[in-house]
Amino acid sequence: MKKKPSIFTYLFLICGCVLIIFPMYLAVITAFKPTEELTKSIFAFPSSFYLGNFMEVIEKSGFLNSVINTVFVTVVSCVGVILVVPLVSYAIARNMDKKRYYKYLYYFLLIGIFVPFQVKMMPLVQVMSNFNMLNVPGIAVVYIASAVCEGVFLYVAFIHGVPGELEESAYMDGAGTLFTYWKIIFPLLKPMTATVLIMDGLWFWNDFFLPLLALNKTPDNYTLTLFIYNFKSQTTVNYSLIFAGLLLAMLPIMVLYVFLQKQIMGGLVNGAVKG
């Protein structure tokens, strides 16, 4: 039914591909060059795959620590979101038509979607410091709290589409509410859980602002983005080292993207279009 794309379409697409790949290509070839080779030509392929730059970044004090911190923050926050958000969304979705409390709670939880981070960042740092939370577990808790609004919005819409008969029969059989939720409802929410995990996981992994505010004073608490940011401002001369560090920071996401591209993009679209 549709026309075949013309040669111009392909030319346009290829130009775009070059624009997208070129910076990455430069980063990769530069990271593999030893310092002596840098002065020759920026665009030339490295004469050999020199791994010294990567080794130097990895051996730098604080790098591995920052990787551990980032993994910890991402995993703990994601688990927290998945424990807390579908639970409250289930209670809201099933009761908001009958009880006012749940209806108002729903709108109350949605307020946050409209509020940009800037307005709460300064008082938030104060609150965190009062609770002694300017550390890695502390920002994980803040991430969970920050993910509530969008998560509730997405989950409530999804749960409205899940028929209530299954759980009703479980309640008839005398099953407890938590048991019913965990055994019957939660497994049915898998598609939305995947969406939320992908969205929030990428956010927590890539985030720079909150770590900058909360963790920048103590290098032991650095996340990967914070480590790279500080590493960059200390290393000005040897930029093959900088590129090696930046590539290492992107590596886990690149690998995930190569293997799970469909799922990741599907999840992001799902979250963004409905959100």
């Binding site: 039914m1 549709k2 026309k3 075949k4 794309p5 392909y10 346009f12 697409l13 591909c17 997208i20 910076p23 430069l26 980063a27 920026i42 807390v84 958000v85 639970l87 409250v88 209670a91 749940y102 939880l109 307020i111 409209f114 940009p116 981070f117 800037q118 307005v119 960042m121 300064m122 008082p123 938030l124 104060q126 609150v127 808790v141 709290a145 509530v148 609004c149 509730v152 309640y171 005398g174 938590l178 890539n206 720079f208 602002f209 983005t225 940011y229 960059k232 930029y239 900088i242 590129f243 992107m250 996401i253 995930l256 993207y257 591209q261 990741i264 992001l268 679209v269 963004a272 279009v273």
Partner: protein
């Protein structure tokens, strides 16, 4: 029997209530409470460090509107957001229409490349481009004899905004394309087939089938892009840090600088409140417009 039933309902409603507690408490303590004390502080002269402070009414807000740095940041954000939205929506619309054609060869390869920036962190990409603008682009400019890019464009007051813009667009087009593509693909194929049977031409098909499915997503994309343009932060920190000479100091960067570097705590919050009001207004206008469309 009667009593038992009643008891069961209580267990359920109690559990349901308890389900809402963890999220609500977290949200109140780390989301709503900071916003409320922030609003309070914005009416005081507190600098973030001193022990006492006094209420000064709307003074911070008035100062913000008359402050030339704030005005410059607003101008920067408006210019930046306008250019970014036009470029991002235009490019992603073209790409989404191209990708919606199933006859395209190497589709998965193209998609794999085009969607890749969507998963990358803004800071890391910003730092990569910072090096590229500094070391690589001038070399290309000299080689091709184009004076405009023969020196680092981030170092010049007049061109730095375009450097930031390029990176912002580079990152944002991917996600916008994916969303628009999803909107296009929600239009069922048999509608097009029926239209062809009825003798509709290409424009009519686009106007009456594609557009109605595309518009809701397009408005979401638009609002997200306006928001991200108005709150742009990470890539500016990575590229120029607001420089040179404040030429790329966006509102978010200004608020950060005032709040954390220049101890003007309450004043910075007032600036952030103004930003919030603008964003809320835009979101509100957008939702009311798209709600009207739905009724129609």
């Amino acid at each position: 029997m009667e009593k038992k039933k009643k008891k069961k309902i209580t267990e359920k409603s109690l559990s349901m209530f308890l389900f809402t507690v963890p999220a609500t408490v977290l949200y109140c303590v780390f989301f709503i409470y900071p916003i409320i004390i922030g609003i309070m502080y914005s009416f005081t002269d507190w600098n973030g460090l001193s022990k006492d402070y006094k209420f000064i009414g709307l003074s911070n807000y008035i100062t913000a509107f008359t402050n030339s740095r704030f005005q410059n940041a607003v101008k920067f954000n408006i210019r930046f957001t306008l250019m970014a939205v036009i470029l991002i929506v235009g490019l992603s619309l073209i790409l989404a229409l191209i990708f919606n054609n199933s006859k395209l060869r190497c589709m998965s390869l193209f998609r794999g490349i085009y969607f890749f920036p969507a998963v990358l962190g803004m800071l890391v990409v910003g730092l990569i481009f910072n090096e590229i603008f500094y070391r690589v682009v001038p070399v290309i400019g000299k080689g091709l004899n184009i004076p405009a890019i023969s020196s680092n464009i981030l170092a010049s007051k007049s061109t730095a905004i375009y450097g930031v813009l390029i990176v912002h667009v580079w990152l944002a087009v991917a996600m916008a394309t994916v969303m628009l593509l999803a909107g296009l693909q929600s239009a069922p194929e048999d509608l097009y087939e029926a239209a062809v049977l009825d003798g509709a031409n290409r424009w009519q098909k686009f106007r009456y089938i594609t557009m109605p499915f595309l518009l809701p997503v397009l408005s979401v994309v638009l609002i997200l892009q306006i928001k991200s343009g108005l709150t742009v932060y990470d890539i500016i920190v990575a590229l120029t840090n607001g420089g040179p000479g404040g030429a790329t100091e966006s509102l978010a960067v200004l608020i950060y600088n005032h709040g954390f570097k220049e101890v003007k705590f309450s004043y910075a919050i007032a600036e952030a409140m103004i930003l919030t009001i603008v964003i809320c207004a835009i979101s509100f206008i957008q939702t009311s417009i798209s709600n009207k469309k739905k009724v129609y």
